[in-house]
């Protein structure tokens, strides 16, 4: 067997140009396949890691997935707000340990602004129970203090103490700014890889303050109080919000989850919806998981195309090598040995393709990984090959050997006379 493999290797080296092209096409398809598989895992994990430790998400009655999207992922908009009285009723339930009120609807240069309380920094958890940490500064203290997510600070190049102006609405560009009330950057959060990185956090009172005078839907000239009046109002406690967008709820015991969910869903004063984050995540994943599966199927198809390329190259080479194979036969090689030769070549081609493909992938991850993490907040790990990836690679190798078998079978069938006869 060894001499045949050595012969296969030498034969490939003899046709190194076509062999290299075949290896490259397999390498590209393999790096795409494994890259997609890795991306899939990261997206899935990043997705599940966005929220942790929260037992219920409460919002206005609507869809659980919609509630999860706007409250946690800051995607889309709330169907309705919930009243402050309802929030206080939820917070006062005996089984509730803590609550984080969330108020959404404004933005700063395309980044969502979240009105909340200090409870957010104390109780919000992501990625299996990790708490938020401040890279610089402190949580908001003053009425016009803002705490930035890491990506906001990096993209817009903000530093502690900078003044920022919030815009009304959630567009990237806005024509209605709250320019009369600049905020001061009080703190910058450490990166989390979650939507928190793309959020500007201010206090609930600040959200109320910037909207004083906006009650009719647009600022009314001469009606809006000035900064000093707003601060005075805040000091009197007059900026308690009338409504908030959603609430994150933590319970004293997780056994009570269903009981509290039921109590909130049956709350008589206002139609509310309480969902379990894990259940809503599963619902959402059921929708987008299909796209992720499709991506893997497409990349698997690319591998198949690559292997077909190898089959073509091998079959074409058989025509050129009729004499070579006939000479091998005439010096005593059995048809089975010719078959083994071709299969050996296919094995080498696939193996080298996989090796190059993985090298290419790791190279790309090393170069582009930090960039992707920066832009998309996706950290694609360059760790060792996982079990699933190993399985995929083994399948590619098996398919490669199968391709070799097809080409080899053809060589096996070619008679001795075929190669030695004078072609007309």
């Amino acid at each position: 067997m060894m001499p045949i493999l050595a012969l296969a290797w030498k034969s490939l080296r003899n046709r190194r140009f076509t062999a290299l092209l075949t290896i490259l096409s397999i390498a590209f398809s393999v790096s795409l396949l494994i890259g997609v598989e890795r991306l899939r895992g990261e997206v899935r994990e990043g997705f599940a890691n966005t929220i942790s430790g929260t037992d219920l998400i409460v919002g206005a009655r609507g869809g659980p997935v919609n509630l999860l999207l706007y409250a946690v992922f800051r995607i889309g908009n709330a169907t309705n707000n919930i009243s402050w009285e309802s929030y206080q009723a939820i917070a006062a339930l005996p089984k509730v340990a803590w609550t984080i009120p969330l108020s959404l609807g404004d933005s700063h240069r395309g980044f969502r602004v979240l009105g909340t309380t200090a409870a957010y920094f104390d109780h919000y958890r992501y990625g299996r129970g990790r708490a938020l940490t401040l890279a610089q500064g402190q949580p908001f203290d003053d009425l016009y203090d803002a705490v930035l997510g890491s990506q906001v600070a990096r993209t817009l190049d903000y530093r502690l103490g900078d003044a920022i102006v919030l815009a009304h609405g959630t567009g990237e560009v806005s024509f209605a700014h709250h320019a009369d009330q600049p905020f001061r950057v009080a703190g910058i959060l450490a990166p989390t890889g979650t939507p928190v990185d793309r959020t500007v956090h201010v206090s609930l009172a600040a959200i109320e303050a910037i909207h004083l005078g906006w009650e009719t839907g647009a600022p009314v000239a001469g009606r809006a109080p000035d900064l000093a009046q707003r601060r005075a109002l805040a000091a009197r406690g007059g900026l308690t919000p009338k409504a908030i967008t959603a609430v994150l709820v933590g319970l004293k015991s997780r056994i009570a989850t269903f009981a509290v969910q039921r109590a909130i869903n049956e709350y008589a004063q206002e139609p509310l919806l309480a969902v379990l984050p894990g259940v809503a995540l599963a619902d959402l994943w059921a929708v987008i998981g299909v796209g992720e599966q499709a991506l893997l199927v497409v990349s698997a198809c690319v591998v198949v195309v690559g292997l077909f390329g190898m089959l073509t190259a091998l079959l074409t080479s058989l025509n050129e090598r009729r004499r070579e194979l006939a000479i091998l036969r005439s010096v005593g090689a059995r048809p089975a040995q010719v078959l083994a030769l071709i299969m050996g070549e296919a094995l080498f081609l696939t193996l080298l393709g996989i090796l190059f493909g993985m090298a290419l992938l790791y190279g790309l991850l090393a170069v582009a990984g930090p960039l992707i993490a920066d832009r998309l907040g996706l950290v694609i790990g360059s760790g060792p090959v996982t079990g699933t990836e190993g399985l995929l690679l083994a399948m590619v190798l098996a398919a490669g050997v199968l391709v070799g078998l097809i080409a080899g079978y053809r060589a096996y069938r070619l008679s001795l006379a075929d190669g030695l006869a004078i072609r007309i």
Binding site: G41, A48, R128, K252, I255, F258, A259, V279
Partner: protein, 195 residues
């Protein structure tokens, strides 16, 4: 129409029967081939978790439910009382410390995207919007050690083996209910019989 209000009737019906459709563990003696793996654990049914003397359905006799008019205030009173009873949902303290094996649906609480490390085990879930989620004595809280984390999807059916811990009454520190300190999980292989 000498019937209950349709909605009340529906609620009453489901309170007693659970949601038809998906339900596991209520079929008597569903044999399982993997049961032999942990001989020490006794296979229990969800009904075991309800005290035998707790029978909210006896209320029906008191109220003569079949002859109540649609808008009879007593029908509303009955529904209110039933809801209240189910909200209390007493547990069976004698089960504390028993090694058990219980099948159910996984309602995920904590996941990392591929594995579920904390979940509530319930006898029925999903697809049925007409009933509220299961009461406290039909819910078991399971927290798995990292090496046992369940590599599956939400609402998969599994067997959980472990020691049952019962908190008999609610207090400031703990909530009444069941918890299993799991030592093993296995996929539920028996197809739930169509009801």
């Amino acid at each position: 129409m000498r019937l209950l209000h349709p909605l009340s009737a529906l609620l009453l019906a489901v309170c007693l029967s659970g949601c038809d459709g998906q339900s596991v563990g209520h079929q008597a003696g569903a044999p399982n081939p993997t049961a032999a793996a942990t001989p020490a654990a006794a296979e229990i049914e969800w009904d075991t978790l309800i005290p035998p003397d707790w029978q909210p359905e006896t209320l029906f006799n008191q109220y003569d439910a079949g002859n109540l008019m649609d808008d009879d205030p007593r029908a509303k009173e009955l529904l209110g009382k039933l809801k209240q009873l189910w909200a209390q949902a007493p547990v069976v303290p004698e089960l504390d410390g028993k090694r058990v094996r219980l099948p159910g649906f996984v309602v995920p609480l904590e996941t990392d995207g591929t594995r579920i490390s904390e979940f509530l085990l319930v006898p029925y879930y999903g697809a049925c919007i007409h009933v509220p989620p299961p009461p406290a004595n039909q819910t078991v809280y399971v927290r798995l050690p990292p090496e046992l984390a369940f590599a599956g999807k939400a609402f998969d059916t599994i067997w959980v083996t472990g020691t049952l811990k019962v908190t008999p009454t609610s207090s400031e520190l703990a909530e009444a209910g069941y918890r299993i300190e799991a030592t093993g999980i296995a996929p539920y292989t028996d197809k739930p019989e169509p009801l």
